[in-house]
Subunit: 249 residues, 2 copies
DNA sequence: TCGGCGTCTCCCGTTCAACGGGAATGCGGC
DNA sequence: GCCGCATTCCCGTTGAACGGGAGACGCCGA
């Protein structure tokens, strides 16, 4: 789990420190951070102190450390992620009222699908996806949409790597995937049955900005549920989102 | 506008670079960043390059620079801001359906109100608040709630500073504010008429986690609209949010 | 065609702040 | 008391950050 300190600029170290924070490890001691980020103890304490002084990290009364609001603020204001999310949110809510399941917004980031937003209906079941979480491109409907419209070199690079199966039915054969992706481009929709969990199906469509596919909008349905209503709701939402992206605000 | 390079660690410089990105300046050249962050040109280019390599910044085809998805990801996963927002979002949506205006979630950050979330009904008018935006504590209903329940030393520090008036009716007299804040603590609600814009009124209530006030939930109404429905809707939402925060997930 | 402007890259000698090993202190818990 | 862990302090070393400056490149208007 410990990162090998392959390179070592100040910035790499800061990133390694930030990477030690996850949903289940949101509060840690400076020493823990140091161990997980592969930093010598005294160095880790110094860097953590500096980050706390800058407001990027916060400190509890018991000296334990957590991500700071200021980091959140700096990362969001002026980010394209926020712009996209703001455009999408109202339409995602509308999807949510029709399809009472999970609705998600994902973008391509470092050869994976990064989830920007998730709305979950109270009645819907569990769902792996988390905001700021990732999934492999080949194993989620959102990922398939993003991969299908990605530059060819990226697509080939991903397909050349060994593809992990998240569930028994995950498609990991490059040839079959290539045919799947062609279908996604043709139909404008990706349907992934049991790719992540056997019991559920993902349905995803692309969102375009100035012609380019910039994100994927998806819903997760129970395995046996029909797809047509979902596809219609997603297409309608995309129309609205794309109109919002085009207009100044 | 240019920041004085008061201190100058690597981290300060990075923060200064990130600070140059705002909603209206989301894409800039490396030279622009350097000027705005008060960095020598060659230094600015080097730092920007490093940040791009680390994925914290992204680069367009035309070499202009924007905030990276990876920064967004690192800032959010494991952040308490996300946890709070996730707990609040469904209840904010419910408020939104009753009070068809703006609904906002804010926290205290560095003696200002930092807005974590905003939902806006299509029919509602313009609104200053932006996600990842700030407002002074004394001049918004959310700010008054946060200030009223803040530690006494912070409250006194804020009241001792010269208080800016955002609108003609903004209350800037420390004595009057102190009395206002006592009323907020007593009533459990803050009402700010024309503090930001003459035409609107803010109504805000506190959100508690383990007894501590951690955030404020607010709506912005047209000046003449009645407050009672808003207060009821906000109180109901807070109940739900606090229950969510208490339960594991 | 030319000149000017802004951006970016490259080079290189200087320097000083980051670095981290190690020892010491403090703090529970068994 | 004793151990394990987190944190703090000290200090001599060193190499990487620093930034001034020169020059290349591209764009635009004259």
């Amino acid at each position: 789990m410990a990162n090998s300190p392959s390179s070592d600029s100040m910035i790499d170290r800061i990133v390694r420190v930030l990477e030690t924070f996850t949903a289940d490890r949101s509060v840690q001691s400076a020493s823990q951070i140091g161990r997980r980020a592969a930093l010598p103890s005294s160095t880790a304490h110094r860097i953590v102190d500096e980050l706390v002084d800058a407001g990027l990290l916060g400190r509890d009364e018991d000296r334990r450390v957590h991500l700071g609001m200021r980091l959140w603020e700096l990362a969001l204001r002026g980010s394209t992620a926020l712009r996209l999310r703001q455009a999408a949110l109202p339409y995602m809510e509308r999807v949510q009222t029709h399809i009472r399941q999970h609705t998600q917004l994902a973008v391509l980031e470092q050869d994976e699908a990064l989830f920007l937003e998730r709305l979950s209906h109270p009645d819907a079941g569990a769902n792996i996806t988390r905001i700021a979480g990732r999934l492999p491109l080949h194993a989620s409907s959102s990922g398939l949409v993003l991969l299908a419209h990605a530059p060819a070199d990226l697509r080939e690079r991903v397909l050349a790597q060994p593809l992990r199966a998240l569930a028994p039915e995950t498609v990991t054969d490059p040839g079959r995937l290539r045919r799947l992706l062609a279908g996604v481009r043709r139909d404008g929709v990706a349907i992934a049955q049991g790719s992540i969990e056997s019991v559920s199906t993902g349905v995803a469509v692309p969102i375009r900005d100035a012609g380019e596919v910039v994100a994927a909008l998806s819903v997760v349905l129970p395995r046996q549920a029909p797809h047509t209503a979902a596809i219609i709701a997603l297409r309608e939402a995309v129309t609205g989102i794309e109109a919002t992206l085009r207009s100044p605000r």
